[in-house]
């Protein structure tokens, strides 16, 4: 064997074997199951079942709408917060406290965080009580079991990922670019849109990919905040594997989710690359 190949191969043998056996092989089993029926004959029947049914299209649409809105809202809230943390906070101790506040949710389970929102968003929850007492609404808002409720919980769970991705890009930004732009007479707004935003775009995109992929496949948060009224793709998948035990049909649903995720990741990566070259 080529001498230059022996070392890397020896070092990669164990990790690659582990991933082939416990990652690729199980995924292959799912894909094969999705292409066959209970009699183990090859068929595309499972996909026809998924894609020919209006209900599934609605679930797919809801899943995507929630994931896209979660990404958008996280970006709109995350950019200002990242900006504030990296460029506006003067007092170091307060900055440390802020970063800790940002990271604590990341270190707690989705369950715990969603549970907090179940308490807050309920009919008699803190939010409704406050709004009622303040005379802002006449009767409690229904938030649990609506897409708005799921969105509030999802943004909450995923926002820290966005803030860290953008914050890292902002903190690496070379101050001389902005100074040059300002020296050349650009107003702050123009400097932001023509200099800072394009330079932090890779961070924005990696944050968006992270948030979107986690949102589109999220199970716990939608399951807890939907109150059984709304279904997303991951909930259908879980149902097939945990109670219906139809691995063929569940496999087809899993492959649909996988494909959607990979297409979005590839698409976002492409935007990042073309903009990065420009």
């Amino acid at each position: 064997m080529n001498r230059g190949l022996r070392m890397p191969l020896a070092m990669l043998a164990a990790p690659l074997a582990f991933f082939v056996a416990f990652f690729l092989a199980p995924l292959a089993v799912v894909i094969l199951a999705s292409l066959s029926d209970t009699a183990n004959a090859w068929t595309l029947e499972q996909y026809v079942r998924v894609l020919a049914d209006r209900y599934h299209w609605e679930v797919i649409l809801v899943t995507f709408r929630i994931a896209c809105l979660t990404t958008l809202v996280s970006l709109l809230l995350g950019y200002p917060l990242a900006w504030y943390l990296t460029r506006m906070v003067r007092w170091r101790a307060w900055r440390r406290v802020c970063v800790i506040l940002l990271v604590v949710p990341m270190f707690t389970s989705n369950i715990v965080r969603s549970f907090g929102w179940m308490v807050l968003l309920g009919r008699k929850g803190l939010l409704n009580q406050t709004l009622l007492d303040g005379g802002l609404i006449d009767r409690p808002l229904r938030l649990l079991g609506t897409e708005t409720g799921i969105l509030i919980g999802m943004v909450y769970v995923l926002l820290p990922f966005m803030v860290l991705a953008i914050g890292n890009a902002l903190s690496r930004l070379d101050a001389s670019h902005e100074l040059a732009s300002a020296d050349l007479g650009a107003p702050p707004r123009a400097t932001f849109f023509h200099v800072i935003l394009p330079l932090t775009l890779p961070g924005v995109i990696s944050g968006c990919i992270m948030v979107f992929t986690l949102a589109v496949s999220a199970y716990v948060t939608p399951a807890l905040l939907s109150g059984g009224r709304i279904s997303v793709l991951s909930m259908l998948i879980f149902q097939q594997y945990s109670s219906v035990f139809d691995f063929h049909y569940g496999g087809a649903l899993s492959v649909v989710l996988l494909i959607f995720t990979l297409v979005m990741v590839g698409f976002a990566g492409r935007i990042g690359r073309t903009r990065g070259d420009a």
Partner: protein
């Protein structure tokens, strides 16, 4: 300047939004009422006492900790050599190997959990600690790989080669030069790996049972049917654990969001 003030207000509101649900849980876990109440009605630590007295919670905490620790150790053992091979050598299939080892970061965990359940079924490897460990190792290994890879820079390489030039063996170069250089990456990666395993539901939910349960899955199954101060106390305990972990990280000087240069 109004724009700056607006930005500041948005940032503060967002921070409050991040803090609110955690405060609600911690508050609700201290209520003296027999039902969940926020603001708490009277103060008591009874719910925490009740949690500690329940062997099933103690067992779940133990399972979660052992699982996270074992998965992290396994992830380090697999990812450190992989990172060195990927950063040091040019060989055919290098990109593919790296993509494969990183892909659990973007693939839906629920799909992987389902896949491992079905796959494990062929070998009788379901609802057992090894089944949980395998799945958790797959999803946490990329954190270590990514953290170590970012430290394997050309500057790091130069020191490694200096060590060889000075006559050190590969073994002693690894222990005395490379390992100290990548140690911060191993530490950061391990922390993210440990946490991701510790809080995972999507993967564990397929391979847990009443006898073998992790804390998040136990919470998940409970919260769907009953909401009481006891469950708030269990959640509160995990929040306290998270805060302690972060304070330790802060203390050892890990900066999650680097300061501006």
């Amino acid at each position: 300047m109004p724009a700056r003030l607006l930005l500041r207000l948005v940032a503060w509101a967002t921070l409050a939004y991040l803090l609110l649900p955690l405060l609600v849980i911690l508050g609700a876990s201290l209520t003296a009422s027999p039902y969940l109440a926020f603001p708490p009605q009277g103060w008591t630590l009874d719910w925490y006492r009740q949690m500690l007295a329940d062997p099933s919670y103690r067992a779940a905490f133990a399972t979660s900790s052992q699982l996270a620790l074992a998965a992290t150790v396994l992830a380090v053992l697999l990812s450190v050599p992989a990172a060195l091979a990927i950063a040091r050598y040019r060989f055919p299939g290098r990109q593919a190997a790296s993509a494969l080892l990183m892909s659990p970061l973007v693939l839906p965990h629920i799909v992987l959990g389902a896949a491992l359940l079905q796959f494990g079924g062929y070998f009788g490897l379901v609802r057992s600690f090894p089944a949980l460990l395998i799945g958790h190792t797959v999803i946490v290994a990329p954190f270590v790989l990514r953290a170590v890879l970012t430290l394997l820079t050309p500057e790091q390489r130069a020191l490694e080669e200096a060590s060889y030039d000075l006559g050190a063996s590969p073994w002693s170069t690894f222990w005395r030069v490379v390992l100290p250089q990548i140690r911060p990456g191993i530490v950061t990666g391990s922390i993210f790996a440990f946490i991701s395993s510790w809080i995972n539901v999507e993967l564990s939910v397929f391979n847990t049972s009443t006898a073998l349960n992790t804390i998040p899955v136990k919470l998940f199954n409970y919260v769907q049917y009953t909401i009481d101060p006891l469950i708030a106390a269990v959640s509160g305990a995990t929040i306290v654990a998270a805060v302690l972990a972060i304070l330790v990280l802060d203390f050892i000087g890990l900066d999650l969001l680097p300061d501006r240069k």
